[in-house]
């Protein structure tokens, strides 16, 4: 099936193109738009963007794989981003990460982002979230949590379950 991009997204990219002297400069913004809309960036999306901006798909793929905020696979409904930079590391972010992974049945020793088999949770390390004074910190989807502990993370998990229940 042809990959069809909804008009709202298409219009957004067309609009973005007007802002830059060169079409290729839009690549990053376009990737953000796709990541936001679909939750991940598929090969079809890469090829669509490449064509739109007169680039080779490999050039777009380079960017997608360079920046950790882009994902090539669908992410879980609940996305934990745990800071691992110096202040948080000193304050034990590794324990938080390990605790969370163990709770969710993920392997804390694996490199990179992981999603649970049921597709509900994604856990990953990120770099400094600019809140070093309240380390350790994490993001759960768009919400920011400071001074987290194993207990508060466990609470967050039950909050997630609760939210899921509400939606059903």
């Amino acid at each position: 099936m042809e990959f069809s991009v909804p008009n709202i997204l298409k219009n957004k990219i067309d609009e973005l193109i007007l802002h830059y002297p060169e079409k290729r400069s839009v690549t990053l913004m376009a990737l953000h738009a796709f990541q936001e809309y679909y939750g991940y960036i598929s090969n079809e999306a890469i090829e669509w963007i490449a064509q739109k901006l007169s680039l080779m798909p490999i050039t777009v793929l380079e960017l997608v794989t360079f920046y950790p905020m882009f994902s090539q696979e669908p992410l879980g409904k609940f996305h934990f981003k745990i800071c691992r930079t110096l202040s948080c590391a000193l304050k034990g972010s590794k324990n938080i990460y390990t605790f969370l992974c163990n709770k969710l049945g993920l392997d804390p020793h694996l490199h990179g982002r992981q999603t649970t088999a049921d597709g509900r949770f994604t856990v990953e390390y990120v770099e400094c979230l600019a809140s070093c004074n309240t380390a350790p910190v994490l993001f759960l989807n768009e919400d920011f949590y400071e001074n987290v502990t194993e207990e508060s993370v466990a609470e967050l998990l039950s909050l997630c379950e609760q939210k899921e229940g509400e939606n059903e």
Partner: protein, 570 residues
């Protein structure tokens, strides 16, 4: 194509005086850019190369845009010291005081014109090199024993020369894909890759197709094509040549031979009329690979994949390796050169004018084509050749897929449209007017001579490298030599005369065609003809317009252009 005079810039380029490791040298202030040819300030690595000082490097390549990513080329440099008022500080003898800068620079990119001294062998430079190599080896798989590049590898060479003896690395190495087919012709080993991006720049800047890129980042960086779209193109194997390590390997050559067993012979690609300069890598009368050889007048440092892989016929199963002569019962039996040539000569000696036709391949050397023109003259023979046309492309590959059509034209063995006399020759054979047919390197039936009439000839000789469908019809079948088995010259489409060398002696009983021709000519003209390509070539230069300034010696390794005269230009 560009000729030498054009390459040299019209305007005089100013020189600057610098010192490299204490030795004074004058270097041009600017050099032509690797791709655009525009004059740009001379970089330190170029200055050092002029001075004959080696700077180790991975990402720098004289034919690619500078990238400056590997840091292997770090050097130290000094500039004239100035005081607080920005006035030069002088030594008691009036010369400027030179101050070594505290930080190193990358020689491949740095071109500060204030630089007056370059230091390439200081203790600091040694340490920089050692450190860069230590980093490069951290995730390197060290699988040199099974690597095709071993012996030719820059990483091996530099580690041996500048690296440290022991590794301090105790952690786990990053695992990356080791055997990725990025095209039908190339395998990529991401673990051996030093991420110099030469291959990436080649695809983007030289062939204009960004087929390769770098994925991920940091220690996980890897070269890749876009999944599902292979790197297919007629020039991809040049990326294998560019790769300084064994990360890109040619599927054709992979694991076939250790590079140090191969002997190298300077040659010319016989694949088309461009005449790319090449090196034959061979061992024990077997070609293992062809590689491009630098010649700015022809192919720069590139060659096409078609030409590069077009060598298997030299060692093919259907190579003609012995002389065959037809028996009284019509079967072909193995024979020897002496008696066979004697029989051929005895017929040609007595044949009246205009009773012989000669079909000549434009794959023969200039010397051979010249001798055939002399034979044709003596016999007043009909001659023709055959065109072998392909598609060609806009980079190097010519439409004419034979290397020496130009010589056929110069010695007038065919009209401007080779093959247009075949019908007439065929008719004359049919009518019994042509009694002898000599064929060099073509298939007469495929070329258009009616198959039924060949039996009417008094003499029918085929001299060729491979057995072809017409071979069994010949009275005499003579095994010729391929371009790798003899010396000679080809004249490319632009009229450049270029010498190719002999990599090994002909397989079996095969003989170079010039040897066969010179023997026949010597007998039937009662003159003595040189038996060496050099001797024949120097005879050509004495009598052929446009060749006056050439000698075999002067052709050297890069050839010479024919001076155009009314006779040789089209």
């Amino acid at each position: 194509m560009i000729n030498k005079d054009q390459l040299q810039n019209k305007e005089e380029i100013p020189m600057i005086d610098i010192k490299i490791d204490g030795k004074a040298i004058s270097i041009p202030k600017t050099r032509p850019h690797s791709v655009t040819g525009k004059q740009e300030p001379t970089t330190i690595i170029q200055a050092c190369s002029i001075a004959g000082v080696d700077i180790p490097h991975f990402c720098y390549h004289p034919r690619l845009p500078v990238s400056g990513n590997c840091r292997m080329c770090l050097i130290e440099y000094g500039i004239p010291a100035i005081d607080r008022d920005r006035k030069p500080i002088l030594n008691p003898d009036g010369t400027p005081v030179i101050r070594k800068m505290p930080r190193p620079a990358i020689a491949c990119f740095f071109n500060d014109t204030a630089t007056t001294e370059i230091y390439t062998n200081t203790e600091a430079v040694k340490q920089y090199r050692q450190a860069v190599l230590e980093f490069l080896l951290i995730n390197h798989p060290l699988d040199c024993p099974i690597c095709d590049q071993a012996g030719d590898c820059k990483l091996q060479e530099y580690v041996h020369q500048y690296g440290q003896e022991t590794s301090r690395f105790v952690e786990d190495k990053v695992i990356k894909p080791k055997k990725r087919a990025i095209s039908s012709k190339i395998i990529l080993d991401n673990e051996r890759c030093v991420l110099c991006t030469r291959c990436v720049r080649f695809t983007r800047e030289i062939i204009g197709i960004p087929a390769l890129g770098i994925l991920n980042r940091g220690g996980l960086n890897q070269i890749s094509n876009y999944p599902g779209s292979d790197f297919e193109h007629n020039y991809t194997l040049n990326a294998v040549d560019l790769c300084p390590v064994g990360a890109l390997t040619s599927r054709d050559f992979r694991f076939r031979m250790r590079s140090w067993f191969l002997s190298e012979t300077k040659s010319i690609c016989p694949g088309c009329a461009t005449g790319c300069n090449i090196i034959i890598h061979s061992r024990d009368k077997q070609i293992y690979r062809l590689k491009p050889r630098e010649n700015d007048n022809v192919n720069s440092v590139w060659m096409c994949d078609y030409g590069r892989l077009n060598y298997k016929w030299v060692n093919a199963q259907n190579r003609l390796t012995h002389v065959f002569a037809e028996n009284t019962d019509g079967t072909q039996v193995e024979s020897d050169w002496l008696s066979t040539l004697k029989k051929i000569i005895s017929v040609l000696e007595k044949t009246p004018p205009k009773t012989t036709a000669i079909l000549v391949s434009s794959r023969l050397s200039t010397e051979e084509i010249y001798l055939i023109s002399k034979l044709a003259k003596r016999l007043d023979a009909f001659t023709d050749s055959i065109s072998h046309l392909g598609e060609g492309d806009s980079f190097l590959l010519n439409k004419d897929l034979t290397p020496n059509s130009k010589a056929i034209q110069i010695f007038k063995l065919a009209s401007k449209t080779p093959g247009d006399r075949i019908a007439e020759i065929s008719k004359n054979i049919d009518e019994g007017k042509i009694r002898n047919l000599l064929v060099f390197g073509e298939d007469p039936i495929k070329s258009g001579i009616a198959p039924g009439i060949l039996g009417r000839l008094d003499l029918f000789v085929i001299c060729d490298i491979l057995v072809n469908p017409s071979s069994k019809e010949a009275q005499y079948l003579l095994p010729g030599a391929s371009f790798a088995e003899k010396q000679g010259t080809f004249i490319n489409a632009q009229g450049r005369v270029q010498r190719f060398g002999k990599a090994f002696s002909p397989i079996g009983d095969a003989r170079p065609e010039y040897w066969i021709l010179a023997n026949i000519l010597t007998k039937i003209t009662q003159e003595s003809w040189p038996l060496t390509p050099e001797g024949i070539f120097n005879k050509i230069t004495a009598t052929t317009p446009g060749f006056e300034n050439m000698t075999w010696e002067l052709l050297g390794t890069v050839g010479m252009d024919i001076v155009s005269t009314a006779n040789t230009t089209e």
